[in-house]
């Protein structure tokens, strides 16, 4: 458990960023591999950029409005 936590802290250390990027990767993988979603392929690029920006805004908002601050 300690090792996993150390790796998590080393690479990202932020659950909001981790979930945001993981969701983006999952959606991109689905668009890329599921036939029904193939028409959405041309939106993959803009979707990825928006997902990255949304993750950044979400984590910064959490930091700014955290009750611990």
């Amino acid at each position: 458990m300690k090792v996993i936590k150390a790796i998590y802290n080393f690479i990202v250390g932020d659950m909001v960023i981790l979930i945001g990027v993981a969701l983006a990767v999952t959606v991109l993988a689905l668009i890329n591999n599921v036939g029904v979603l193939a028409p959405l392929k041309s939106f993959s690029g803009p979707f990825l950029v928006i997902a990255v920006l949304a993750s950044l805004v979400a984590t910064l908002s959490r930091e700014a409005f955290s009750s611990q601050r």
């Binding site: 080393f10 690479i11 990202v12 250390g13 932020d14 960023i17 981790l18 990027v21 990767v25 991109l28 993988a29 668009i31 890329n32 392929k41 993959s44 690029g45 990825l48 950029v49 990255v52 920006l53 993750s55 950044l56 805004v57 984590t59 910064l60 930091e63 700014a64 409005f65 601050r69």
Partner: protein
């Protein structure tokens, strides 16, 4: 030579080396230089071994598309972490890294340990380990950036080994520069604009992470590689807007805190006046 890769590795490494240098310096001054330098050299050798073995393994065994997807994701995670911290520091919501404070704190800890003669050249295991640990921990991030950035920057015309070599050269140049400046001034490098460097590297890692992750999933970016500049501009603009917004939030929170404080009573006012 891939200049973008080398420059990104240079900036990222410079920040980490400045942080590691502070600890090596304090060990050198407080314990002795022999133990400090041996610790730093041992850590540098460990890191070089890590980059060489892991880098070579990745280059030889993993297909480029898989590598771009995995490493694009890692770069994105890493880049967003750096960018977030840099924006929070710009907005004043997080304390900036204070090399002088770290220097003084570590020096006090070493002195509290006692029994150390800074003039002696005798090998000190504690000093060696402290120096080794700080260089290794700070350097791990550099090694990670060198490997991921170097491997992913490869295109069909440029080999992956060349990408790693460019990144390693950038990191080496930063290391030598920090050591040279540090050896000349012999004080913690407190004037290095660490947050600006972290911000620039955060933008670069996020930009390249997005680009390569997209390519790994077959995204065809408009204007091909030139779209990297547009991505960087998008993230730069967004970061600027977010910093302005967070500064405003901080100002509002402070105003609210002042507003919530109870007004002084007549007696308290009288005491202050006296």
């Amino acid at each position: 030579m891939q200049w973008v890769v080398a420059i990104a590795a240079f900036f990222a490494s410079a920040v980490e080396f400045v942080e590691a240098f502070t600890i090596v310096l304090v060990v050198g001054v407080t314990v002795n230089w022999r133990s400090a330098l041996l610790g730093a050299l041992a850590a540098a050798a460990t890191l070089a071994l890590l980059v060489a073995t892991l880098g070579t393994a990745l280059v030889q065994w993993v297909p480029l598309d898989v590598l771009r997807t995995v490493i694009g994701t890692l770069l994105l995670l890493f880049g967003l972490k750096w960018l977030k911290n840099a924006i929070l520091r710009y907005a004043g919501l997080k304390a900036r890294h204070d090399e002088q404070a770290i220097y003084e704190e570590t020096q006090a800890q070493l002195r509290a340990r006692g029994g150390v003669d800074a003039t002696s050249s005798r090998f000190d295991l504690f000093g060696f380990l402290l120096s080794y640990k700080s260089v290794l921990l700070e350097g791990l991030e550099v090694a990670f950036i060198v490997i991921t950035f170097g491997v992913s920057a490869a295109t069909s015309t440029v080999s992956r080994s060349s990408g790693i070599a460019s990144a390693a050269l950038g990191a080496l140049a930063a290391g030598l520069l920090v050591i040279l400046v540090g050896a000349l001034v012999r004080v913690p490098l407190a004037n290095v604009p660490e947050n600006t460097l972290k911000f620039v590297v955060g933008i670069m890692l996020t930009t390249f992470g997005t680009f390569w992750l997209g390519e790994g999933f077959g995204v065809v970016w408009p204007l091909s590689d030139a779209f990297i500049l547009i991505l960087a501009a998008i993230y730069l603009g967004a970061s600027f807007l977010l910093t302005v917004w967070l500064k405003r939030v901080k100002k509002q929170q402070r105003a609210q805190e002042i507003g919530n404080q109870p007004a002084p009573t007549a007696e308290q006012t009288k005491e202050v006046m006296q």
